[in-house]
Symmetry: C2
Subunit: 184 residues, 2 copies
């Protein structure tokens, strides 16, 4: 199973649908790296071109993998070791291509319906079962910029429960989606 | 569907398996109330007997349901309106009994195997489909105290991906479990 996760901080939308670079939420780094480790994902790309935000992620990663955090909580170390830090989604794809010797399928996620090239969970699960490398990207703030959706090979269908409300946090949506794609 | 969620801050374990009351993580309140709203849960009980922690939860709830937050983000208001604040798991059960006219099934969650009275996801889904009121409880920190597991009617089987590592955050575990129980 060659699944990589990507958490995109730029380009994403804000509430008014302006294009922004969002700030890193430290809990996202913890939650999604623990998710990645639990589900056997091969890497978790934190995607931001902002230098101060990159430094923040590096500090978290170092504390838990090389510093006191790793001694205090070895489980967290195993999770945070999966974190890669890159400027753009394209760089994440290139890094995965280097590791896997094959360009990964870019699978974007969006909370809206009908953004085009939509793929269901069963179909996306098949890609992984056929051993295709997959880069599954989540948007922070108000979601992935259109340019990322357009660059993607597929856009996964939104997560809905039994209601029409689907304002989940990125941490919750990522957890549900990864479980649907690779859960037992 | 009569599902209620409970987030337990006491009694839970710390890393050394002492019994503690954990501090409220504000993001848990947001993430799990949004999860509850998305999946049609009828209420989300934040369970803590600590006065300062209750005040914190009340302040968050008021900001988003009555204060500026509700105007700024009405979706968040709909989610936070589901929050109830109680001292103990037993009080949550009593409040649900008052609402539903029937004592709810207490369904506890635990990341360990073999704690007894284990129930699978399919079986738990059946309870909801038969319209039984269910109070699904999650532990913060290092998990629900044994006394809560013993008081429960059933303990849900742990969430595993394809690996033996299962150190998910409570936000992630709650998301995955609720999706497995009521997701489309």
């Amino acid at each position: 199973m060659r699944l990589y996760l990507g958490l995109v901080h730029f380009p994403v939308y804000n509430k008014n649908r302006d294009t922004i670079a969002s700030a890193v939420t430290t809990l996202d780094i913890h939650d999604i790296s623990r998710l990645a480790r639990t589900y056997g994902s091969k890497g978790f790309f934190v995607i931001t071109p902002l230098k101060d935000q990159k430094r923040l992620v590096e500090r978290i990663r170092e504390h838990w993998t090389e510093g006191y955090g790793g001694l205090y909580n070895p489980d967290r170390k195993e999770a945070l070791e999966l974190v890669h830090l890159v400027d753009t989604v394209e760089y994440a794809r290139e890094e995965i291509t280097k590791i896997e010797g094959e360009r990964p399928v870019l699978l974007a996620t969006d909370a809206s319906k009908g953004v085009g090239r939509t793929i269901g969970y069963k179909e996306a699960r098949n890609l992984l079962e056929k051993n295709r490398p997959v880069c599954l990207c989540f948007g922070t703030a108000w979601g992935l910029h259109r340019s990322v959706l357009e660059a993607a090979d597929y856009v996964l269908e939104p997560v809905y429960g039994p209601t029409e409300y689907n304002h989940l946090s990125v941490r919750a949506a990522a957890s549900i989606i990864v479980d649907r794609l690779v859960g037992r």
